[in-house]
């Protein structure tokens, strides 16, 4: 037996396990298509062979998909789950993503039959509680943002951006003012330009100052009467508050444009600052960020958009109203809603997310939400302070908001890239930070801890980063180039995946 320096036998740990076995508590797991079960099903159904005469030539020619018994299915997906990192496992410092704790109360309430087992087109009289909940959510969102109106239906942040820009387009069009472009800083999240383009606008980039804010001179220079909107994220994607936001709004309005605020980072200021006080005309709120509906490995989320008086008439249908007979929905652009930009998607939005977000807001209350912002900002500044000495801060001056941004200056010449460094963090038990975003910062590392991290976890994380930083300085390049070593898989070949896309399993020939 060969024993390594720290007394751990090195075998058989560093031998690959025989194919198809587990290792300790981690199980290998093939695809469902490799588990057999082509002719079986894990759902017991009554025997009911209906005659198909009405559908004679309309029926399909078989459907080859495997069915698993419940024990197999449960095991399969539990094993897969073992291969994921999650906020419930450790700090998840993905900047711009606000990976905060997801309360289990919210999950429970969203599953109440009175919410989950409601059809979207039941008679209005039978869904008064659901509309009441939407109304309550709207009230909280409007009050927290200081804005007069809100469109709940957008299904995620990007959908909210679209909603906002389409409202802006409708407002311009209503005045017969067909503007063609949207201004947005280079640091903007990819959805901003993508949405603007989708909404039929040309995207013009605004420069950024050396201290990471919108360059007012450049903005003023580019603002003209063809500009429909200025899109600014605030706090911005560098984790900084746009100090001159009032001026941005003033210039924008002066040019006859609308001020769209990307509210993805609202978590940093909730309860302390109201976007309505900053001259904002439209702002989406990612309920799955600030209001903690779970990210779910990619979604679903919800992206309600608060709107100024000027834009409110153009809000998408359905409109939620309150009359003598209780709550009601105006589902088509007509009457009061005649100017509406129309429908963004079927039905009335992400009810399941509304329940969770409202439960979250009520739990925190006005006092708790203010504390959320304070703790989120404090945690980020703590990380900034603890790491700032070793890593290079993109904007060292002044405090950051909810996230701390580093560049790769400090890695220069080390042979270690931002990507390598991030992957090495996996070996220490943490999810990497957001990398290479925002684009304005070279080799960016954007760290957002959120307010739900205890100090102990922040320290654990900072210790790990500092220890890795020391390894970089010590020239231990292999620790980074080969990383991760301790994850379920080693580094994946993304180029191969893109070169020969295999998007579905196919039987081995």
């Amino acid at each position: 037996m060969s024993v390594s320096a720290v007394g751990r036998p090195t075998r058989p740990e560093n031998e690959a396990a025989p194919a198809g076995h587990g290792h300790g508590l981690t199980q290998d797991e093939p695809l469902i298509f490799e588990l057999g079960g082509w002719d079986k099903t894990g759902v017991d159904l009554p025997d009911e062979a209906a005659p198909l005469n009405d559908l004679a030539d309309l029926t399909r020619n078989g459907l080859r998909l495997p069915g698993l018994s419940e024990p197999e299915a449960v095991r399969h997906y539990v094993r897969l789950s073992q291969k994921n990192h999650a906020i419930d496992l450790a700090l998840y410092p993905l900047g711009s993503c606000t990976m905060k704790h997801n309360p289990r109360l919210d999950e429970k309430l969203a599953r109440l039959a009175g919410f989950a087992d409601l059809h979207p087109l039941q008679p209005i009289a039978t869904v008064q509680g659901a509309l009441e909940l939407m109304e309550a959510l709207a009230h909280w969102l409007k009050t927290l943002t200081g804005m007069p109106a809100v469109a709940l239906s957008p299904r995620a942040g990007a959908h909210g951006e679209l909603c906002g820009l389409l409202a802006i387009r409708a407002a311009h069009e209503a005045r017969g003012d067909a503007r063609k472009s949207v201004l947005a800083p280079t640091s903007a999240h990819g959805t901003n330009p993508a949405t603007a383009a989708l909404a039929g606008y040309q995207v013009i980039e605004i420069a950024q100052t050396a201290d990471g804010r919108v360059d007012l001179a450049d903005l003023a220079a580019k603002l003209h009467d063809d500009v429909a909107a200025v899109m600014v994220t605030n706090p911005n994607t560098c984790g900084l508050f746009e100090r001159e936001v009032l001026e941005v709004a003033r210039l924008t309005h002066q040019a006859g444009a609308y001020f769209y605020c990307d509210g993805a980072n609202f978590n940093a200021i909730v309860g302390r600052v109201r976007p309505g006080d900053l001259g904002v005309d439209a702002m989406h709120i990612n309920l799955h960020k600030t209001f903690s509906t779970p990210h779910g490995g990619g979604g679903p989320g919800a992206g309600p958009v608060v709107l100024s008086e000027a834009l409110a008439p153009y809000a998408p249908t359905p409109w939620l109203t309150h009359g003598p007979k209780g709550f009601d929905l105006t589902e088509h652009p007509a009457g009061e809603a005649a100017a509406s930009l129309g429908r963004l998607s079927a039905f009335h939005g992400q009810m399941g997310m509304y329940v969770r977000a409202l439960a979250y807001m009520m739990s925190h209350g006005a006092d708790g939400l203010r504390q959320v912002a304070e703790d989120a900002v404090l945690n980020a500044n703590y990380i900034k302070a603890r790491l700032g000495g070793e890593l290079s801060l993109a904007f060292p001056e002044g405090p950051c908001m909810h996230e701390a941004l580093f560049d790769d200056d400090w890695l220069a010449g080390s042979g270690v890239t931002t990507l390598d460094f991030a992957k090495a963090l996996i070996d220490e038990g943490f999810h990497p930070m957001t990398m290479y975003f925002p684009l304005v910062v070279h080799g960016a590392m954007l760290i957002e801890p959120t307010e739900t991290e205890p100090r102990r976890e922040l320290d654990r994380f900072c210790d790990a980063v500092l220890e890795l930083a020391a390894a970089v300085r010590a020239g231990d390049v292999e620790r980074f180039k080969g990383a991760p070593f301790r994850a379920p898989l080693r580094r994946l070949d993304e180029t191969l995946a893109a070169r020969k896309p295999r998007l579905a399993w196919t039987p081995q020939p």
């Binding site: 797991e29 298509f33 759902v43 209906a50 559908l55 078989g62 459907l63 998909l65 897969l80 291969k83 994921n84 990192h85 704790h101 997801n102 109360l105 039959a113 919410f115 409601l118 087109l121 039941q122 008679p123 509680g129 659901a130 679209l162 999240h189 990819g190 959805t191 330009p193 993508a194 949405t195 989708l198 600052v273 109201r274 006080d277 990210h295 990619g298 679903p300 129309g342 429908r343 998607s345 079927a346 992400q350 009810m351 409202l358 006005a366 708790g368 939400l369 703790d375 405090p399 908001m401 996996i426 975003f437 307010e451 205890p454 991760p484 580094r491 995946a497 896309p501 998007l503 579905a504």
Partner: protein
Amino acid sequence: MRYLPLTADDRAQMLAVVGAAKLEELFVDVPAAARLPGLIDLPRHAGELEVERALTAMAGRNRAAGAGPFFCGAGAYRHHVPASVDHLIQRSEFLTSYTPYQPEIAQGTLQALFEFQTQVAALTGLPAANASMYDGSTACAEAVMMAARVTRKRRAILSGGVHPHYDEAAHTLAHSAGIETVRLPAAIDGEAAVLEAIDADTACVVVQTPNVFGQVTDITAIAAAARAAGALTIVVTTEAVAFGLLKSAGEMGADIAVAEGASIGVGLNFGGPYVGLFACREALIRQMPGRLCGETVDAAGQRGFVLTLSTREQHIRRDKATSNICTNAGLCALAFTIHMSLLGGTGLGALARINHARARRLRDALAAIDGVEVLTARFFNELAIRLPKPASEVVGALAAGGILAGVPFSRLDPEAGFDDVLLLAATEMTTDQDIAALQGALEAELGR
């Protein structure tokens, strides 16, 4: 505050590390005028018990679909979801993870997405499926945009059988991009009229089967005609259980299939979250919207999965992206995949037949009512009937008696002149007693 770990001590010590005398200093960049001195005018924090009481009371002011006979469909269908599905999607590792940007520690999500894509491909009969869209209607709208990109034409024809919400959502999105959407008049057999509407300017035809009236159509001829005219064919399905029985979009020659997947694994949820399915022909992959999960290998040669072809996406391609979608319907896609993995092809087929059988019993019961005319000849699990009075009145009256009798077509499209048309769906949840109760109540309401 139960969700906040920091104590007053922690905060004081951390501020010291940060080098700030007080917390306010961290907010210096906010214009002084915009810094709220005190609390916003909203209730203060509340314990779990209080929040649970308040929301449970609100939930109690709704009539849950399961509380009595229930026949609503029109794009959202009530099906049974095995308990294991909801259990599994609540595992921390699925529920509380982000989009799988770091594949080495996200293989759970990624492998499930690969399974999802494979299942969607098999169901739709089209080889390339993405990792989900928000819902069926936005998937449809994105398909129209994609067709315009692919064909470089700017006119989409939507059949009179397409769900009006889908039409509206497509119109909203297409409009600002200068793409025209033409909706043919609402008609039970709405797909038929599409054939004549196709011309050289057509970017795509959008047809639905089963359509919003429940009518099932073989769109092979339409797809052929569209292809001949250089247009793409987009097939919409709002009831995913139909995949178990009906010809797939691929079999019929479609280019793109979009569907609402909520029937499998997800549930009603008052309309959301749902899960949009999106699949297309191989050749169109690089024009697809949304995330794609692909197979690859790791540095040690082991199979693994990654998000791929992201040069189509907003975070790389920005204003040139094929879509602006970022957050999608990940967890609903997982629920769909788990439910589908339990069902298998065999189970989905059996489930579809049961749905059809129950709908036939519903049809027979309705047809027996004097004054009711069944309009849908070839249906899967949903059908339209004509009533001797406005459908919304009838539905309102029956709801007061505890029966949710379906969706008046006028609720979806008040302008169509179909005020007397009612859409009713039956699924495996519909019992013979439910049908009998409906029949009795309808007869009473119609005074027969």
